[in-house]
Symmetry: C2
Subunit: 466 residues, 2 copies
């Protein structure tokens, strides 16, 4: 399934240098390498030649510097939860495990920011914020590391209100391909001081450097939170409700779309009794009266579009039950086809195109004879089809790949992107030129060459083969 | 005051080619060149050798292509309202006047976005949005062009709620230094598809390319808007009020700080009778009850910190009078010293540092014997000292420059930036290395070389001399 690897062996002198410097924290054990050569995608793992468990920025710089002197590839490893083959060692090399860089360096309540090491996960950060009245909102589903989330420009259910990693990283420490340590950005909320190196590194997937520390924005925990769920006669009616809600200026925190099949899967998996139709899940953040007002506006809007069984949840236990069901959607979906593996798409289009994009996608799905429940961050125009594929059926897998490829191209044709939040990795490389055009790809290559002239940082990712 | 120019004459062949192609839209007239060689800063103008009035992206590409073949500098000109000498032709060359690129290409109400040519000003865009229920919030004071605002990463009074140009540009058309046309970004609200070329171009001040079109985010006009004004016993008390307001999660749209001297100037200039003390101006956006609730919360918070004469304005005419007074602050300040010219600083620090930064700045101001009222976008930690200087007094000007330099360094020392929203131009070059460090400056230089190897795009700006 993967292209044949172009991988020279690990230079002996490098292996010896790393072994002597890092002792038991250097490993070439097959199991360790295998674990670091895969992610949560459907790609066949491609293990690195060695793994080093780093414990500080200085150590990362030292490892990268050693690899640089041998022109050996380096791949950063956070929690292994990426979805597009980001971690596969397509040209071999050294994986740097960053999970021990797990210190929260500073929480600054007055400034609503925190500086953390890259291995801190979003749940760890939020646990550390307990009692401060603040939280970190970006929630990509998995308990990913913040470094990895920055590297893939992750987002999730809260992005419609709080933005993505692009908007929420203020500054970084990055180890460059030659082992130098770069500081980007700062702690000012805004700055016009030169080229935006922070945003260049966000979404660069370890191909320009390794993020070892980052300063992120925090937000006050809203005084009141309420949730609602509502079924619609069609996906189009649900999408019209979302468009109107946003145009009315309702500052909704989450709007998630689940299709009929996904709701059926959830009812089965989570023992809920949701009406089985295209459904929106909402969450409102604000003052108690503000939240009530938001929910009422949305209820009226939903009713205009045929929404049925609008159900509120203000008690924390009801909200938790509702959002647990939403968060379990992926596993609920997989439960529809026991023994299957999932291939997840990530199209994101302007919201005016969303209903059409989903309608065309359903026609294609039917013609393809595949099963794929839908879940989407519909406020951003982003939706995922969870393709359920028999791992032993190569023909079905090929059909699913064809469907995903057409969906990626459809999203691009509709002025959108083939990847709203999962990143490119190796999975979306084939669409980069179609999405960005030759000139933009040339500029991206020029940037890559300028910063990583030897192409040692996570080589073979993002940019299509020349 | 400026460094001696390193400017070869305009190549004759280039002048002939531009003249024959653009006719009357090509000019070497001294008055035209002078107009295009200055901005609103206190720098002595440095005119380009020629000006071409372009009317389309294709024409800009043609002009840049011609200049590229002669290795001649190119400077983009929007409305001439920049504040750091961005437009000065320090190495001569050709200025491209973009004011005729003033078409609104598309307004998309469902998607809350608009695509415009770079010469469209923010007021023109908002006028075109009349009746749609949408608005474009970024307001840097001047009626600047959107291309220029993107190029300097501008913001203004609304940034605390709506972000800066960094957050509000979705995609661009950019003419590269070799005349190729680059498309960046797209219309999806979010994307993880490769390097963020949009954010690289935002804030690049014409040194990497010329922005000719851009797609920006729009927002629903809030159902209700109200304003408030409140005087405090000290700047520190006002800042503590702001910090607490933000920590309480009040989604305030504007929080502006004006000091006692500035309020006195406004009272004189705008015939207002505001209490003369450090003062906060607030604006609240939301539903009628939401806005009322926000104002009440802020009023209570202000009272805890000694705020006096908390005054509300909900009627449009009262709000307009209040904000007109705020917007006239610059001219009111200048009125304090007839015949003076103004030198404006742009420090931005983490808000926890703001009161200290201002206190140190006041001590320095007193020791320097200068007059400078203060106005600040205090929700972002950004404040401007408007230094009032006698244009015929070189010694006073030098003292003002020294004060501004110490303030820039103070902001950097406090984890902030020397420029929150005005950009670097030539005015802040001297602080780039202090703010970013050698490694970051090296990376910025590498990016500049990768995209503009002949250094023809607005040369001599942003990066300090090597």
């Amino acid at each position: 399934m993967n292209a044949p690897a172009d991988r020279p062996p690990l230079p002996k002198a490098l292996a010896e240098a790393l072994a002597s410097r890092f002792g038991a924290r250097f490993s070439v054990a097959a199991a360790v390498c295998l674990h670091h050569g895969k992610d949560e995608s459907s790609y066949t793992p491609m293990p690195p030649d060695a793994v080093v468990f780093a414990e500080s920025t200085a150590e990362v710089a030292e490892i990268v510097g050693l690899c640089h002197s041998h022109r050996t590839p380096v791949i950063a490893f956070g929690t292994g939860t990426s979805l597009e083959g980001h971690l596969l060692a397509v040209r071999g090399g050294v994986s740097i495990d960053l999970s021990a860089l797990n210190q929260i360096i500073a929480l600054r309540q007055e400034d609503l920011d925190a500086t953390v090491q890259c291995g801190v996960t979003r749940k760890t950060l939020n646990a550390a914020l307990n009692g401060t009245g603040l939280f970190f909102p970006i929630d990509p589903g998995a308990d990913a590391s913040l470094g990895g989330m920055a590297a893939t420009r992750a987002s999730g259910t809260n992005a419609v209100r709080y933005g993505t990693m692009r908007e929420n990283v203020l500054g970084m420490t990055v180890v460059l391909p030659d082992g130098r340590i770069l500081k980007t950005g700062g702690r000012a909320r805004k700055s016009s001081a030169g080229y935006d190196l922070t945003r260049l590194m966000v979404g660069s997937e370890g191909t320009l450097g390794i993020i070892t520390e980052l300063t992120v924005r925090l937000y006050p925990i809203p005084e009141a939170i309420s949730s609602a769920v509502c079924a619609f006669p069609s996906v189009a009616a649900a999408v019209r409700t979302v468009i109107q809600t946003i145009q009315l200026g309702v500052p909704v925190a989450r709007i998630e779309l689940l299709d009929t099949l996904m709701i059926a899967a959830i009812n089965r998996h989570s023992k809920t009794s949701l009406r089985e139709g295209p459904t929106l899940f909402f969450e409102f953040h604000g003052s108690p009266t503000g939240v009530k007002e938001q929910a009422e506006t949305v209820q009226e809007t939903a009713a205009e579009h045929g929404g049925q069984d609008f159900e509120w949840a203000t008690r924390p236990e009801d909200r938790t039950r509702l959002w647990q069901a939403r968060h379990d959607a992926y596993y609920a979906g997989i439960g529809l086809k026991p023994g299957c593996r999932a291939l997840t798409t990530d199209a994101c289009v302007p919201i005016s195109q969303l209903a059409d994009c989903i309608a065309e996608t359903y026609l294609d799905l039917e013609a393809s004879g595949l099963i794929a429940p839908l879940v989407g961050h519909v406020g951003d125009g982003n939706f995922h089809m969870v393709l359920l594929v028999d791992p032993d059926d190569d023909e079905e897998f090929a059909r699913a790949k064809g469907f995903a490829s057409r969906l990626a191209q459809r999203a691009i044709r509709m002025d959108g992107t083939c990847t709203g939040e999962h990143g490119v990795g190796i999975g979306k490389q084939a669409y980069m030129t179609l999405e960005h055009g030759d000139v933009a790809i040339d500029v991206m290559r020029a940037l890559k060459r300028a910063i990583d002239p030897d192409n040692i940082m996570n080589p073979g990712k993002i940019l299509p083969p020349p």
